[in-house]
Each structure stands twice: as C-alpha cells, then as structure tokens.
C-alpha cells in the first residue's frame, strides 16, 4: 500500500485557503486530552485520511459542549460554553459535524438547535457505517477479525437517548467478527456508570460500582474484545477490566480503533 501522508487540517486553515470541508470532526475534551482516548481520535483521523474525506477540526478553537455541566444541574456554565461554541461554528459556516463522543453528539444534535446552533450531527458509528457502505472504507490490509468474539457495549447517549443501536453493530459486522450480545443490550443496555456527571465525582455509597456490574456482564459473553463507542464508557469499562485483572486476555477498543486495525492504519 502506498504510504499516505496523514493531515489534520483546522477550520482556520481551511477558511484561510477558502476551502470548505465535507465534515467538521468534533474531537471533544476526552478525545483531545485523555491519553487513552486520544488513540481513538488518532485512529479516526487516520480513517478519514485513508478514505479521502475532506475534513477539518477546530483545534484549539473547540470548547467543551457543556454537557457534563448541564447534566449536573449547572445550566449557566452549559449555556456559556454552548453559546461560544455556536459562535465559532457559525463563524466557519459549519453544516455537518461528526463526533466520536455520544455526549457531544447528543448535545450538539438535540440541545444546540434551541440555542440557535443548527447543524447536521452524526455519530462516528453512523459515519463509519456510511463510509463502509459507500466503499470508501475497505476492511483490508490489516488485522483479521474473522471469527473473533466481540461484544458491543451500548452507550446510553447513543442508544436510548438517540436510538442509534444498529450502526455500531453494522460496523462490527463489517469486520467479519463474531458479534455476541450481552444479557442487557440495546434498549435494555446497562449504563457504564459515567453519565450525568458521574464521570467527574465519586459514586454514592452502594454495594457495587456500576462499571463492575457491567464488565461482569461483558466478560460473561466470553468475548475477547469489548467494543465501545464512547470516551466515558472506555474509561469505565477499562477500570472494570483492571478490577477483574483481565486486561491481558480481554481488550477494549473503540469502533474507530478496530476499523483502523483492520485497515492496517
């Protein structure tokens, strides 16, 4: 395969050269700062490059969507961030946004319109499915997933919140892997425990942590790979896996990482 030179153009660069990208890749805070999740961002950027998608990112002009503040009850902080993001997005005339974070996805898609920010917002699971369907992403040249047991953990903000259940599964099916479902999946999927601001505080007293309950269910499927599609889920599930001391035999990857592995990127 010919070496491709990966590029991550910013909206500012695009605007300076009078270009308009097909999509804006909204990276999100976890995608920008979290060491584990930065790998997902990188994988997705490589996939976009490989597929020849003309994309751009906001770079340092991106801010948190405000989701954790809103869920925690702080509407002021949420709206301040939302308004300034909308100003930036509108300044660049952004029409279509793709993001790997279901929380950013939900907020941008459902909550920005009422504040004046109206965009077409797509989660990366749906976008990957589109790219695969259109033949722009071809599952070849890398690791083979044939016959490998993969289970998918539904994110609340993708599934119940926005009814995206099939796209991530179609992406996994494209890997030719053996997709196994957990006992609680799709509409019945169990939360990883991080939503609603829980990611940023200690859990209340109880008999168990939510991520432990969920990782037990994932491990019970016998899958060697747990696929996720959310930065918070990846953290919670990874912690759960460490708690069970299973990090050597079971791996947790985002959909984009799996596709990048299969493409040999």
């Amino acid at each position: 395969m010919a070496e491709i030179k990966y590029k991550v153009p910013t909206m500012a660069e695009m605007a300076a050269s009078n270009e308009t990208p097909e999509i804006l890749f909204w990276v999100g805070c976890a995608g920008s700062f979290d060491d584990r999740y930065k790998k997902v961002t990188v994988a997705f950027a490589k996939i976009l490059n490989q597929a020849g998608v003309k994309f751009a990112v906001l770079g340092t002009e991106e801010s948190c969507t405000g989701d954790p503040a809103r869920r925690a009850g702080n509407e002021f902080t949420f709206q301040m961030l939302a308004m300034s993001n909308i100003q930036v997005l509108d300044m660049y005339g952004v029409k279509k946004i793709v993001t790997a974070c279901p929380h950013c996805f939900n907020t941008l898609k459902n909550e920005y319109p009422e504040l004046g920010g109206k965009y077409e917002v797509i989660h990366h699971s749906e976008y990957l499915q589109q790219l695969i369907n259109e033949g722009r992403v071809r599952i070849e040249g890398g690791e083979s997933f044939k016959g490998r047991k993969i289970t998918f953990h539904d994110s609340c903000y993708l599934g119940r919140a926005n009814n995206v259940y099939e796209a991530p599964r179609h992406v996994l099916e494209a890997l030719d892997a053996d997709l196994v479902e957990m006992k609680r999946s799709k509409v019945k999927g169990l939360c990883c425990g991080a939503g609603g601001g829980q990611m940023f505080k200690e859990p209340e007293a109880g008999k168990k942590d939510v991520n432990i309950e969920r990782i037990e269910e994932a491990l019970a499927t016998g899958a060697d790979t747990i696929a996720v599609a959310c930065p918070f889920c990846i953290v919670m599930m990874t912690d759960g896996l460490k708690n069970k001391e299973k990090e050597d035999s079971v791996k947790i990857y985002d959909l984009a990482e799996l596709i990048a592995q299969a493409e040999g990127l």
């Binding site: 700062f33 503040a69 702080n74 709206q79 308004m83 009422e114 601001g197 939510v210």
Partner: protein, 443 residues
C-alpha cells in the same frame, strides 16, 4: 321492598359519584399547581402513541407472559363495565337483567363472553397475588425496596383481592341466577345456562328458593357495591393508572430522550453576559425567584400527572444502574415521593378553601434527599422501561438544577469541574492551548 332497594341504590350511586367527583377535583387542582408546558403539538402522533402504548399496551408485552395476564385484567375491566351499565340500570329501575329480553339469544352469548373475561381476570389476579406474596418478585418487595414499605405493598394486594372478590361475586351470582331460572322463580328472566357459571350450579344444589334469592341478591350487591368502593378507592391508590395511562401517554414527550429542556431565562442572561444582547434598559432583569425545582410547584404539570399515573410496578427501579448496585436512588421512589407531596398539598388545600398554604416543607429535602438525585447517571433506563411513558429523569434533573444553581449544593468535585469548564473549556484541568496536541500522534 323493591322500591326500598331502588332508593338505597340511587342514594349509594349519588354518594359515590359525589365522592369520586370531589377526589377528581383535588387531583386536578394539585396537578394544575405545576408550571404550564405545551404538550399539544402533533396531535396525530400523540393520539397514535396513546393508542399503541395505553390502549394497545405495547410496552407491557416486552415481558410476554405478564403482558398477556395484564391484558386479561385490562380487557376484563374495560368490557365487564358494559355489564355494570346493565346492573346500574337494573338497580335504578328495579328490573332484573334489563337487556335480556332486548338482546334475545345474543344476551346469553354476551354474558358468556363476560364470564370468559371474568375467569381470565380471576386467574390473572390470583397469579399476580402469588407473584407478590409467594414468589416474591424482587421489584415488588418492601424488604428490598424501602419505598414499598407499608401502604404501597398493601395497596397492591388490596386491589388484587378486590378484583378476585368481584369476579367470584359475578360468577356465583350468575350461577344462583340460572338455578333460580330453572326453579321457575318469578323474577328471574329465562336466559339459559352461561358458559362458565353453569359449572358452579352444584354449589347451590339443595338450596331453597328464598336462600337462593338472598344469595343472588347478596352477590349482586357485593358486586356493584364493590365496584363503587373500587371507584373511590382507585382515586387514592396507585391504581389510578387505569384512567391516567391514557392522558399520560397522549401528553408524553415526543423529542429524543437525550434532550434536556432548555431554560430560556438563562439563555437571556448568558446572551447579555456574552454581549450578544443588550440588557433591557431601566427594567430590572426579570430573574426568576428560583432555578430548577425545589417543590412540586416548580415542576411541570406533566411531571405531576406522571406521579399520579405511576402504578409503582418498579420496572424503572429494576433497570436503574444506581439502584441495581445498591445506591439509594430509586426512580419509582422519585415518582411516589412526588405523588405523596401532591397528596399532602391536596389535604392542605382541602382545609384552606382550595388554596395551597405553605407548610414549610418541600419535595427536595423533605421527601427526596440529595444523595438520591446525585446517584443518577441520566442513562434513561427508567424512562425506557415505563410502560406508560412516565419520566422520572426529568424530575431528577430539575431537582439537580435547583440544588446546584440556587443552593450551591454540588459535590466539591463537581464544583472543580464547573470551574475547569469555565476557565479551561474542558471538565479536566488541562490548558486550552494543548487541545490540539493529539494531532502530533497522527503520523
């Protein structure tokens, strides 16, 4: 004698009607304490939601066996009421089986059909009672769920026993009736055997006409008085869902579950702060006296209708990740607390000429604790589970808004997160200038 029965019947009917009307009035007036919210858009979609979810009970069939049993009780309740109409008319007019001569042989078929439903209700209620008391279905046990202690657990059983008694009354009444017909007793219109009650005839072998008439009348009065008592009882009980499931599904949210209600009063302030809008000159900024919800009066009327509609089945709680892992939060308790608060306010209104006089209590604090609402992951599992589209999450989030914005009662780590978001535009303490450093990894 006849006329005395008629007078008693009319008096009872009138009293029941008045008592039920009074209850409806209180329930209505407490619901209207909620904030206004327009839920009348897209009437077509709303109607079809109601038909699918309430009338067709679609979500109940997620658990097929329970769905079928519940449907049997529901269909029985709905259709047997047609017979209640006859009973009421008989009672008022001093007739017996008024519709029999009008409907001819169809009458026998109709009563047979009602008996079929009655047997279905009877069996389903017995199974439900067994589930509650012997099989001990987890989500219905007070030992596991503190909100079920006392009255709620009893309420569930009372309703089932009520229905079992009513169904036994109707079936034995019919059996006694056909035995009387066969005896040629004067008042008993010939209808012939009914499909199920005919098997109960042996119960009455050897009874003379008078005792049979006494039993038939006793069963008749038990049935109709039972239904009247039920009508009043329902308004105090979790069982109110039999009526409210319909409006509650009609007025349910049509937007994606992930979307939180905007606070326009804050949008205005933020726009002024960011210099996107000028502060209204002269006029003081119309800052609301409260952000979010502290008491039921701060919630929307739909949240309050949700509370009255809740049947305390606990599907929400059994799907709640916080509850499953032993935290104090129970979405069912959120709904029950909201209703308890409304009932308490209703009692205050009753003794104060329909006015709500502050009693120094509030939903947040006196009924629901901070620990409960903090444990929510906003995962929407409770919302997804509810068979009649109740939304506990909406209440939790409004309570959080009040706690955080008015009371400044956020956990320390949340305050740190807010501060990071305001100064670094990220929930973690990273420099905004480093936000694009990840791109160095794309090689």
């Amino acid at each position: 004698m006849e006329i005395v029965q008629q007078i008693i019947f009319a008096a009872v009917l009138g009293t029941v009607g008045w008592l039920v009307f009074k209850r409806i009035k209180i329930i209505r007036s407490t619901i209207s304490l909620g904030k206004s919210e327009d839920r009348t858009d897209q009437p077509g979609k709303r109607f079809s939601t109601m038909m699918r979810i309430a009338f067709g009970q679609k979500k109940m069939f997620d658990r097929p066996l329970i769905g079928i049993l519940h449907f049997a009780v529901y269909a029985g309740f709905l259709l047997i009421n047609v017979e209640v109409l006859e009973i009421v008319l008989d009672g008022l007019l001093g007739k017996h089986r008024l519709f029999a001569p009008m409907l001819g042989s169809f009458y026998r078929f109709l009563i047979g059909f009602f008996e079929f439903l009655a047997v279905g209700v009877l069996l389903a209620c017995i199974i439900f009672l067994i589930r509650r008391t012997i099989l001990k279905t987890e989500r219905l046990q007070p030992s596991r769920h503190r909100e079920m202690n006392g009255w709620p657990a009893l309420d569930g059983k009372v309703i089932l026993i009520f229905e079992i008694v009513l169904m036994i009354a109707i079936l034995t009444m019919n059996a006694a009736d056909i035995v009387l017909q066969e005896m040629g007793s004067a008042h008993y219109t010939i209808t012939g055997d009914f499909i199920f009650s005919k098997f109960l005839k042996p119960l009455f072998t050897g009874w003379n006409e008078t005792t049979l008439i006494i039993y038939e009348r006793f069963a008749w009065w038990t049935h109709i008085l039972g239904i009247f008592a039920f009508a009043i009882y329902v308004t105090y009980s979790k069982h109110l869902h039999i009526v409210l499931a319909f409006p509650n599904t009609y007025f349910a949210r049509l937007i994606p579950k992930g979307e939180m209600q905007n606070m326009p009063e804050i949008t205005k302030e933020v726009k002024i702060m960011l210099g996107l809008e000028n502060a209204p000159e002269g006029a003081e900024n119309a800052v609301p006296d409260r952000f979010g919800a502290k008491d039921v009066t701060d919630l929307s009327w739909k949240n309050l209708m949700d509370a009255y509609s809740c049947t305390e089945c606990g599907r929400c709680t059994s799907a709640c990740p916080a509850n499953i892992t032993g935290k104090k939060l129970s979405p069912r308790k959120i709904m029950m607390d909201t209703r308890d608060r409304l009932e308490d306010i209703g009692r205050i209104m009753q003794v104060n000429d329909g006015k709500f006089v502050e009693d120094g209590k509030s939903l947040m604090g006196d009924y629901i604790s901070q620990e409960e609402i903090l444990a929510c992951t906003t995962c929407n599992a409770c919302v997804q589970e509810c068979p009649i589209l109740i939304n506990p999450l909406d209440i939790i989030l409004q309570l959080r808004r009040h706690q955080v914005m008015d009371e400044s009662k956020a956990p320390g780590s949340w305050n740190a997160m807010f501060q990071n978001m305001e100064t670094n535009q990220a929930p973690w303490k990273f420099s905004p200038g480093d936000r694009f450093n990840w791109a160095e990894g794309v090689k």
